[in-house]
């Protein structure tokens, strides 16, 4: 059993919202926008596991989102840059931005992205490999806390500068744009967007289930124990750094999937989703949802992005103030985010309401409180 009854109910409600209510009530433009937000929820979910449960705050999750996204975008770009499509270039068959930068042959590291299966593997493998290198170097040397946060932030900065600076190989500041088809299937049509939205939603739910599995396994309890008393865990015979490396890699893998779905749904990938600012913004999604709440990560992401879109359409100045205020408020006043507010105000109210009802109907069954364990 990987879900408690309460969690099963919560997941069902969320799945209904994502897969039924939103598609029925939004036009395809708005739905595509929600789909884009939901790709950030992958990152927020990864942060719940590694920051909320593991106590490891990474300020560079955009790195992994970006790497996953770039992997997918590179595949799509190569498909869009067939010799047929690019015959006006001086070197046909390579992406347009390479041609503009006087590059005459496809760089070696683009070669694997000619194959879709390989691309799908790399979408996960590339972020995981980088996370492993970072995690292995840092965690085996007992680096954590703020040091780790700063290092991940620096890596995010490095990657952005690298992508922007190496225009010929990466598309530079504009990113990789003009993505068209996936194995000949046009991803720009409304129909494709709808299908991709559902694929994205199902993948997200899959990742949520995976997160619940991890949380309820002994691994999840060790994460909590580690956050609390790292030394005690070590002296109970666990290699703490291995656990940290694993959860960091897991978060990276989940973020990479989100990035790939972003590239597919939005049709481009750019360094503006990789650097310091987007990375730390993704942390606020998690914080708003509640850093310990797996489902909260999704709600937090949707809420913050919805607010961002509606505010920056009307009062762009207010948005930054609001976002800044949100960072401070969620830390000072609501450290457990929406999930905390739900747990301490809304849930008791619902329970009272249900109890009253069942008092009126003696045969009614009382909802059980949180089950044992």
């Amino acid at each position: 059993m990987i879900l408690s009854r309460k969690e099963l109910l919560g997941l069902t409600i969320l799945a209904t919202l994502i897969l039924v209510i939103l598609p029925l009530s939004l036009d395809i433009f708005r739905l595509n926008l929600v789909g884009k937000y939901l790709t950030y929820a992958f990152v927020a979910l990864g942060l719940v596991l590694c920051w909320g449960y593991g106590g490891i705050l990474s300020l560079g999750q955009g790195i992994f989102f970006g790497l996953g996204g770039y992997c997918m975008a590179m595949f799509l770009k190569l498909e869009a840059s067939s010799v047929e499509n690019t015959k006006i270039q001086s070197t046909p068959g390579i992406p347009d931005f390479m041609d503009w930068n006087q590059i005459t042959a496809l760089p070696w590291f683009w070669e694997p992205f000619r194959s879709l299966p390989l691309t799908l593997i790399l979408v996960i493998l590339v972020p995981v490999a980088l996370a492993f290198i970072l995690g292995f170097a840092m965690f085996t040397r007992r680096v954590g806390g703020t040091y780790f946060a700063i290092i991940t932030q620096a890596v995010a900065a490095i990657l952005t500068i690298l992508i922007v600076g190496q225009q010929g190989y990466t598309g530079g500041i504009n990113g990789i744009t003009d993505l068209r088809t996936l194995l000949g299937w046009d991803i720009r049509t409304d129909n494709a967007k709808l299908i991709l939205y559902f694929v994205n939603g199902l993948l997200l739910i899959g990742c949520l289930l995976l997160a619940f599995f991890v949380k309820h396994s002994k691994f999840g309890r060790i994460l909590v124990a580690m956050r609390d008393k790292e030394d005690r865990v070590r002296f109970s015979g666990y290699n703490v750094s291995n656990f940290k490396i694993f959860v960091f890699c897991l978060a990276a893998a989940i973020s990479g999937i989100g990035g790939a779905m972003f590239a597919l749904q939005v049709g481009f990938m750019s360094p503006s989703f990789v650097g310091i600012v987007p990375s730390i913004e993704m942390v606020i999604y998690t914080a708003v949802g509640g850093r310990l709440s797996i489902l909260g990560a999704v709600y937090g992401t949707l809420l913050v992005n919805w607010a961002k879109t509606s505010f920056s359409e009307t009062f762009p100045e207010l948005w930054l103030l609001g976002l800044g205020g949100l960072f401070i408020a969620v830390v000072l006043a609501f450290p457990n985010g929406l999930a905390g507010i739900y747990g301490s105000y809304i849930e008791p109210a619902i329970k009272r309401f249900l109890r009253k009802k069942s008092d009126l109907m003696p045969s009614g069954t009382l909802p059980q409180g949180s089950p044992a364990e």
Partner: protein, 308 residues
């Protein structure tokens, strides 16, 4: 790579790049000093440090405007007053922030990081709303303009020299304050053992507040000095924040000497490489080098072995 230049030209290049590196060194060191005090002494990561610096820069800008418009006769010395005002403004803001926010978060360093990031967003937007999104630059007094020729191929800018001198003076002042004054002793006592320091009658809360304010005030002075060599905009502070954190961490957090050495190493590496590579690659390689070394030696360059 070197074949196109004569020996003499190469020599000049290194001297000039070295000088540019020294200016960058001053910039890094000025920013890092305030940060090193706050991070090294209090363990607090202040992500809004850049914005405290920009406040100092704006204060300097407005002081210069004031002198220019009302007392032009004293314009040549406005900078010294501006620097003091910048220190007071950033320090006062720092004191307020410590009281309103930081002191509630001493046990949650990661949360401090997020909250101060929020603060930096708010400050950026306030600067933009009040001072405009455009970058502003101060007018230099006459004596600071121009350059001094050292040989026929090498010359150094006076404003750059001035900033270096200023950096030196501030660094010495900080060193004296931290290692010679009784206040510095209190700060270091609180760092080593907060409970004990409180027990022997040090008001630890006040020490925290003034330490934070001092760090922010120094950031303000740094911002003031920046106006001598560059222009100021609402988001200019963010450009340096990662480099500065790396300088502090690389130097080994709690050591002033370490901060100086690391600021020097990083700035020289970057400016020397900048000549041969593109600016972005120089930066990437420098940062990668620093991150790589930190992975192998996370405690930074200068630390002591103590019982964990």
């Amino acid at each position: 790579m070197f074949a196109d230049y004569s020996m003499a030209e190469l020599g000049s290049i290194f001297v000039m790049q070295g000088f540019a590196g020294l200016i960058l060194f001053s910039v890094f060191l000025l920013m890092a000093l305030g940060l090193a005090i706050i991070f090294g002494q209090m363990g607090v990561i202040n992500m809004a440090h850049g914005e405290f610096m920009i406040l100092g820069a704006y204060v300097t800008y407005f002081t210069s405007q004031l002198f220019l418009n009302y007392i032009p006769s004293l314009f040549s010395i406005y900078f010294f007053l501006a620097m003091i005002l910048a220190f007071i403004a950033s320090g006062a803001l720092g004191m307020f922030v410590e009281w309103a926010m930081i002191r509630h978060l001493y046990k949650r360093p990661l949360d401090t990081l997020l909250a101060t990031w929020g603060l930096s967003l708010i400050l950026q937007q306030l600067y933009r709303s009040f001072f405009g999104a455009r970058e502003v630059g101060v007018e230099l007094p006459e004596w600071m303009m121009g350059s001094i020729p050292l040989t026929d191929t090498v010359e150094v800018q006076i404003n750059g020299l001035f900033v270096m001198g200023l950096t030196l003076a501030i660094t010495i002042a900080v060193a004296v304050l931290m290692y010679k004054s009784s206040w510095g002793k209190q700060v270091r006592a609180v760092v080593q053992n907060r409970v004990m320091a409180g027990a022997v009658g040090i008001n630890t809360e006040r020490v925290d507040r003034y330490t934070f304010a001092l760090g922010c005030g120094i950031a303000g002075v740094a911002g003031s000095a920046f106006t001598m060599i560059g222009s100021t905009g609402p988001t200019a502070g963010q450009l340096y924040i990662v480099d500065t954190f790396l300088v502090v961490v690389f130097g080994g957090a709690a050591s002033l000497l370490g901060t100086i050495a690391s600021a020097f190493t990083i700035s020289q590496a970057q400016s020397t490489m900048e000549f041969f590579l593109s600016g972005s690659m120089a930066k990437v390689i420098t940062l990668l080098g620093v991150v790589g070394i930190l992975m192998l030696r996370p405690q930074g360059l200068f630390t002591l072995k103590v019982r964990r």
